[in-house]
Every structure is written in structure tokens, then in C-alpha cells.
Amino acid sequence: MKTIASMLAMLGAWLSSSSAHAAGIDETINELTAPIASFIGQVVFFKIPLFGAQLPLVVLWLVVGAVFFTLYMGFVNLRGFKHAIELVRGDYANPKDSGEVSHFQALATAVSGTVGIGNIGGVAVAVTVGGAGATFWMILAGFLGMSTKFVECALGVKYRQENPDGSVSGGPMYYMRNGLAAQGREGLGKFMGTFYAVGIFIGALGIGNMFQSNQAYVQLNTVAGGALDGLGWLVGLALAGLVFLVIVGGIKSIASVTEKIVPFMAVLYCTFAIIVILLNASYIPEAISNIFVGAFSAEGVTGGALGALIIGFQRAVFSNEAGIGSASIAHSAVKTNEPVTEGYVSLLEPFIDTIVICTITALVIGTSQVADPNFAGGATGVAMTSAAFERQFSWFPLPLAIAALLFAFSTMISWSYYGLKGWTYLFGEGSQTLYKVIFCAFVALGCMVQLGPILDISDALVFLICVPNILALYFLAPVVKREMNDYLARIKSGEIRKHNQSGSDSMAEET
């Protein structure tokens, strides 16, 4: 408590000393971060020119990985879909394990980590930069990403670590270290595990932190009619204070309330989005045809169709995090003796996040664009999506702002945990408070810089950690494939059966 009090005092002192020249703070920080952002961006997004478009190598790396895992696992993203639903429904749950983390809970927590402002604002950015065609590639990337998720989440459960206090720690750093050691690549595994842990820690400050708080601020400012202009630091401090209360102060009730509201917000958001799309019904055919035409011949987009493809893929990964390995950390807590089952369940994550929610957002924007090309008045990000809703419901920006704020908040809470796992992997369990304070500082920082540099930094850092992650997945994919085939054989032979409601075993289903 003493440390918290003294930190708050420091925060207050900083606040009062800086409020005198508050108007200049935003610009100053912007000037400082922009060159850093462009440097990191250039290194990570090393681009190769290809038919007039610039293809970042990391995007190619992710796409090749996702295609490979889709083929290598025999289109598990299609063929495992039904089984994933059965697992989430609890058909295979052993009543003896009741009270443990269920497949549904692991999925719900991971999804609320990925369903963030990217689903509302990121899609708008993609459509602005990459044209309607980017949507097509985003959906395709979501579909392929399901296979990557399958592999990484199955591995997360298989190589998780059970701590002496009974809690579990899992994720890419653990399957890198333990999985590769089992293959006799101990040194490589250790190196990659450390590299990943550093990356997820820094990435947590970008994708799961600054981007979220920034967009939440933009949306609040839009609703307030610009009254918060130049007050980014104030909103930032307020958000940082809330996050501080949860992750440092241990006020779990704020977090659990958010976790309970977010799923309903997501459902509500989708419902209203579908209503808007239906109200724009006469523009649907043209919006859809724009998506397909734009996917293969994008006019006015830098790099044409290939440019649209790159933007679409980039957005999909940014949104559903397949290949980044973050979800693997959340999925590792599930109670199961079969790591593969969690792989199946995690398939649904890119499906819900990208194929359902992002596509719906893209259609809301797409149909509005057809109706009125200048509907957003040049705005992008969340503000653009908000304007699309506003065309039908003038009151919508307010609830959307609240939803955006909650999405941002729950994503920040989830990512604070992911980053923390990287941090404790490196420095042990003792130094958690320092990490948490750094995390809160970045929440505040996120509201002070403009969208451009922030997107560059967070995109770059997140793409950086997928390099070792995908590499580890290549090494360990045979392990997953063996387990998957073994598991499927046992389902077929009836060794693994469904448990029905009354607790007695029902007949194994024909597969």
C-alpha cells in the first residue's frame, strides 16, 4: 500500500507540474515518438518490391506459415470446426472435472483479449488504406489463421508449466523451451523462449495497450464533440488509473465486471451492425461486389490488388493474433488431459474475431460507403465506423464509445497478463509490480500520441514476435500432428466418448 500511495503522489506531482503547459504535451510526445516508430517500422517491415507493391517479409512469413499449417494438419480449420463446437458445448467434459476451467471459459477469455478496438477501428483503417478488397484478404487470412491457432494453442497446453502454488503458466516461451529441449534443441529453445518473452512484453505495451487506449480516447473525443482536444493526457491518466487499480491494486471486481459485460457488448454490437447492414440492404450487392472486385483489381490502392492483400492480411493478424502466440497463454489454463482439444477450441477464435466480427464491421462501412462515399468526412479508425452507424442511428456514437472503451479495457487487462507472463518468465515472480507500473504508464502514453506512429510501433512489435513463434511451430508441428491423429483414432474407436447431461457415458458418436 505504501508503494502505491507514494506512486500516486508522484503521479500527482508530475500532473500539476505539467498541467501548466498541457497543451504542448501531446505534440511534444508525438515529435519524440514518431522517429522511433518509423525506425522500428522500417526494421520489422523490411519490404521487398513485388509487381509494384511493397510486400513486408513478416507478412509473407505469417501467410506461408498459415498455409503450411492448414495443409499439414489436413484442413483442420474446416474439418475440426464441428468438433470444436462440441467441445465448447461441453459434450466431452468429464463431470469429475467440474469446477475446473472449461473449454468455453478458456475460449471466452481468449476471445475477449482479441476482440478489441481493432475489430471496430482497425477494420476501418484497413478499408481506407487498402480499399474494400482488403476485406476479402482479411477473411481469407482469418480462415488460414485458424490452423496456426490450432497448433499454437495445442502446444501451449502440452508444454505448460504447473507452478508450485497450483497455478499454471503456459504459452510460446514454454513450448519453445520445453518442446525444443525434448527434441534435443535445448540451446535454441532457451534462446527463442527468452526472445519471445522479451517480445511479448514489449508487444503487450503496443497492440494490447497503446493502440487500445488511443482509440478509446479518439472515440470519446468524437462523442464529446472535440471537447477533449489536447486533453489526451487527462483521458490517458484516467484510463491508466483504472488499469492500475485492477492490476496493481488487485481490485478484481472491476476486471470481472468488464469480463462479464464485454461478451454482451460484443453480441449487442453485432446485432446493431447487422441491423445497419439490413437498413442499407439496397447497397449490399454493390458492397459485396466491391469486396471481390477490389480484392483482385484494386484501383487507387497503392500496389493494386497485392497492396489490398497485404493490408488485409496485416489487419487480420493484428486482430486475431494468430501466429503471435498470445492466445496460447490464455488457453493454457484449461483443464484437459488432451492438449489437442484446446487446439480445436481455439480454431473458433479467429472465426469469431475475424470472419464474423471484422466482416460485419467491414460490411457496415462498405454499405455506407456505397450509399454516400463521403459519409465519414475524411475520418478513419473508430470515428469512421461510428459515422457509419450514425447514418442510421444518430444516438449510436455514445453506446459505441462505451463499447469501445470496454473492449479496450478488457483487451488491456488480458494483454497485461500476457506481458506479465513474458516478464515473469524472464525475471521470476518477484518483480511483478515494476512491470505493472510500466504497463500503466504506457496506457497513459497511448492517449497522447497520434494514431499513425502508434499503429506503426504496435504493428511492428507484434509482427516481430511472430518470427520465433512460427519457427517454433514448424519444429513442433509434427508433435501436434501425432497427437491429433492419435486423438482422432481414439474418438473413432470409442475410447473417448461424450459425457451426457446425466453423467453416464452415452454411445460414442459415429465420426
Partner: protein
Amino acid sequence: MNNSYLVAVDNSDGSKRALQHAVERAKASSAKLILTHVIDWSPYSFHTPDELAERTKRREEEIIRARDIVLVPLAEEVRQAGLEVEIEIQHGRGAETLAQLAEQHNVAQIIAGRSGETNLKTLMFGSTSSKLVQISSVPVLIVP
């Protein structure tokens, strides 16, 4: 079918009356009692990653608490009354879990107290005891 009764117990007065009644009936027919406590839990609730990581530990704690505070003292009373007794703890929804355990243990009947809930939720969705009566596949005795 076993000559045993499944008795739903918690800390309430209603469940104490149910247990008294169960003990009397069991003496008359020299039946075994299975004292059961259900810890309210749903596999479809939402949690933070932190809570999930600690779930296994918390579950152990919940089970130990239920056993030491609720079940062990009550089981001792039953034993002193000269009856054979077993205890069972499970996470789940009250009525569904009791019905499921009753089937699993193949008991002759379920004995439960009528919980004193009279709130809005009960009015809308019914109480645990009325739900139990609806779904159980063995006879249910509700003690007022």
C-alpha cells in the same frame, strides 16, 4: 438399486431439518446416507486470464472448505446416530448436479430441504427444489 439416500446439505436450517428427517428414515430401513454438497459453478461463466490460471488452486480450496466446514461435522453426527455415511462434493448447478449424482450412486431417493428463497429470481425461474422435482429420475422428498 442401492439401499441409500442422497441428502443435499449446506449450512441452512432447511437442510438440517432435511438431514434429521433423512436420519430417521434411514434408521427405519437401515439405509446408507450420501451427504452431498454442490458448489455453485457454471462452465459458461466469464473470467479474467488471472482467474483462470489460479482456478485449479481455488477449486481445491473450495472443496476443502466445503468438506471441513459443512460435510465432515454433519457426517460425524450421522455416524453417531449409528448409520453408514458417505460424503460427496461437486461443482455445478444445484438441481442438475444432484440429479446426476443420484443416478451415478444409484440411490433409492433424494432428500433435500426446501430452500427459503422467495426472491424475484425464484419467482421467474423456480427454486432449486422445484427444479429437482422436475428433472430427477429417482423419487425426491422435499422437507419443509
